[in-house]
Symmetry: D2
Subunit: 319 residues, 4 copies
């Protein structure tokens, strides 16, 4: 729905068709996007002859099939993360996409946030010199439903994947991870063999070191912050407050906080669509692409192994 | 162009036509908006039979005529501020619009900024008690061209009008103003009988007191900040930084700053369009409306008189 | 008591004697300062032969007499602001102090706050170019007792005097003021012919313009903030929060606030003592001195006249 | 010197004697503190019959001997961290101090910083519920001289010890650590078998998880920040800027940063002295005491083992 509503604001873009098996959702998307047609079956939308590019924003287990369908139809495709439900499927898909030459973009939206994008530009410009340390925190306001968690692939594939991508985006390739996980939010999550709270150490190929903190619950909202520290200084991506309003009262000074990715990364979500459209139009490969989609999943796999085996795991062990 | 590009993202809205006497601008607007037709003459766009509502975003001296044209055609109309080039014309237009019953909205975009809108909600909720003091600063990054300044009506009609509207929006009706102006930025501005730097005291009908600071130049960007102080606390609308990124280096900690209304109030600009569309659809009067358009101009007129006569001027003297 | 407790930390300084007519207070000050002697009569302390310098921190109406006593005894003297209970007495004292050549420092402690002191250094270094606008807010947490207010000289001599000194310290001499006052906090204050809420416009000799906001009540604490705006940028002295701790909870992000000058300017209070001692030792004139003490009172007098007569008042009219 | 200069400001405290083998330093300390006597040999100062309490602020390898000397003389003793040059010596000293009943305080000054102290109070009050995660960063502006590093015991005993104490102070006992270290700042440090850059994972006895980042170099100054995250919210101790002054210029908004513990924890340093004096006077055990001194060293020992052996190390393994 976010993409459906935002796409029409991109000059030259028209939403031809939307697809959703649920009629109400389908009609809402059609209304929001001004689409000419609404299908129950996504394959029909993909094969609609007027469609040039496909946005896959469906439950994780359906991603790979839909991307393949689009690729086989020769349609440019954008897919929300993760690209597949597990590493094996992602690796197979990676081969398919690479072989096809079809433009592909993965939905690591944070790369398009003005804060993260500017951090990358300043790093590339050498502003903080050689990077020595990285820190990223990712906390969701509340755990998703257990039904969702069961097919999510676990905290490292579902939640920390964003932090793994940020590590690669801002610092470079990760060579090794070490994870400690815990059950602090909901017993049921632990009972599934998953963690709801985790800390991760990263060793980068460059020799830099990093830490990641994840939690499935933060009562104050959506807690996404990143620091990159180097020989020349430090960059901190920290968006506070959500609303540009400070309140002074008997209890001191206060401000509000972002509640979820829908408000924190709303602009980023629009920007990634614009970037996708611009790449497809220009005939240049979209970024982040299928390599980025796969590489983050390898780190997630290594993290999952580290959590289970209680030892450091090289990323290549997960390949 | 801002509105042309953003309107298509409002569900159910279609840009039927754009108008601009300059061909390149006209075609750019058509491309950005996906409009079916592009006219050189705005009257043709207004009278296009498919058009339900008109957005007037033209040079100030053309506002009143175009609003009248739309009103006579029975089309809902949104007009950028100020609604007319002087108070007399605004007063006449106010009568026309009121008599017509046509939906009208004035472009005081700051009311739709999340910070200002939330400040108003909290004031209405009694969070800061009885309001005692108001402070608003408005500084543009650089003065506009002299050619523009000559037809702008002066700093109080052109720039401070936004602060006058904020005073009314957040505190209530203004009964008296006192202004000191100066020429600090450009001699040519002073030579026109205008000021480029000003401080204004406000007395509200409620007995509250306020101050406004204006300047035509701020090397750090677009400086718009407002404080409302009352018996129960203080609210401060202060958007810093523009990008959610802090940089730590040998010179300390730094962040960027908004550069102009185009970035500071981009969201507000979209929100005012959504509000206009929603009002027209619902058949409820848009807000801020023609009364707000006129009342802010009365304060501007009083401020201009105070600047020239070097004494306090009741707003009703300007009516 | 603040000075009594802090003076012993200045190397080479010894508190010889304290004086207070109330025995308990006298003994508390002796304990805190390690003083050898405690007198009921301040004159005895002043004339104690071991005493080299005198700190006058007594009720305002006693300032001038005690300063004179110290000056006549040839003792260096530091006096809390205001230097006298009215302008006539201050002017007479100014002549006495100037004629004596005795080192004198007035207690405008904010000049020694790291924020204000650094602002002055940066202004002197030309960092913000030519100054165009000044803004200072001064709000106390709660009004003092009426018994105090009756001998305070009114809001401009008692409270705004600090803002007037900041205006001179950071921008330069003030040529004219215009005041609007109101009774918003306590009817009794208005009944005394005083204001508890005020806004003031300043015109500087340089042509710069300024505004000051004062209130006798702020539920969130001690609200002292200053902005200096010029052709090259802006400096903002804004100390938030008091404690370096941010709290994130269901209500958003919050921090505490300074409660009074005793916490906001504690370091400044120590620094002004160190500066006084250093000047006396070095034989250089302390700063701020008797000229600063008098000049701020002239602005306060002009502001009081402006409040009463409802018109702009040149500062020289108050001389 | 910091303590020597600050002690006289504590009511009732007199510096009887200072000791330093270097004459100039000794005389400077005598001047700053107003001490009656200055000794070359610290033992003479300890045994000075007028001395009630001893402050040990000497190079690390001398700490344990001097503490023992004071304890045997029955003098209350404050000692800067670490309490001894290695864990074995610290353990022996712990027994001596415990057996003696002499009041002892260890110099973990951060516990007295208003930010950290208030964080602890809020945690104790249950404000953030059950603690789930901890994060602390400690970066010095530049590495100390190699001569110092050689006797420092390494980064975990010398630098991270403060973070280990904060972990205990704010969360509770640590059961296990895992460290990755690197040489990023100076080859010579790596050549000594030490790290200049490190990340540490902590597992608390409560089940909470934590991360620590350390570096021997930060070009922007002294980077000490801590976060405690729980089921009810998050507390962040983050002191920015050092000076309450914001500068707005063509490059955006900027502020300064703390440069070292001497400015960041100046107040904390005074507060820990006041607390020590108050405890000694009241006859209550000072805090943090010898148990805290030892326990932090056990974590440092476990961290050092983890760094060398590249595996997780239980703290009890270090006992």
């Amino acid at each position: 729905m976010t993409h459906a509503a935002a796409l029409p604001a991109i000059p030259g873009v028209r939403v031809v068709a939307v697809a959703d098996p649920i009629e109400d959702a389908r009609e809402a998307a059609r209304w929001a996007s001004g689409a000419a047609r609404a299908y129950a079956d996504p394959a029909e939308a993909i094969h609609d002859t007027e469609v040039d590019a496909v946005i896959v924003a469906t439950p994780t287990p359906t991603h790979a099939d839909l991307v393949e369908e689009a690729v086989h139809a020769g349609k440019a495709v954008f897919c929300e993360k993760p690209v597949a439900e597990d590493l094996a499927r992602a690796t197979a898909l990676w081969k398919t996409v690479r072989a096809s030459g079809v433009p592909f973009q993965i939905g690591f939206q944070r790369r398009f946030d003005p804060g993260y994008a500017e951090a990358r530009r300043r790093i590339d410009a050498g502003e903080i010199g050689t990077i020595d340390q990285f820190r990223s925190v990712g906390r969701d306001p509340a755990p998703p439903p257990l039904s969702y968690l069961k097919v999510s692939g676990g905290i490292f594939f579902d939640q920390a994947l964003h932090e793994f991508d940020l590590a690669r985006f801002l610092v470079g390739e990760v060579s090794e991870v070490m994870v400690w996980g815990a059950t602090r939010v909901a017993e049921e999550i632990g009972a599934m063999g998953d963690a709801d709270t985790a800390v991760t150490m990263l060793r980068f190929q460059s020799g830099a070191l990093g830490v990641i903190e994840n939690s499935r619950r933060a009562v104050y909202g959506y807690d996404i912050r990143t620091e990159v520290f180097g020989s020349g200084g430090k960059l901190v991506v920290d968006a506070t407050p959500k609303t540009p309003l400070l309140r002074y009262g008997e209890q001191g000074v206060s401000a509000d906080h972002y509640t979820f990715f829908t408000d924190r990364f709303r602009d980023a979500s629009h920007e990634e669509m614009r970037a996708f459209v611009a790449s497809v139009r220009a005939g240049t490969p979209p970024s982040p692409g299928i390599d980025d989609a796969l590489q983050a999943m390898k780190i997630a796999q290594a993290a999952t192994l580290s959590f289970r085996r209680q030892r450091a795991v090289p990323v290549e062990e997960a390949s």
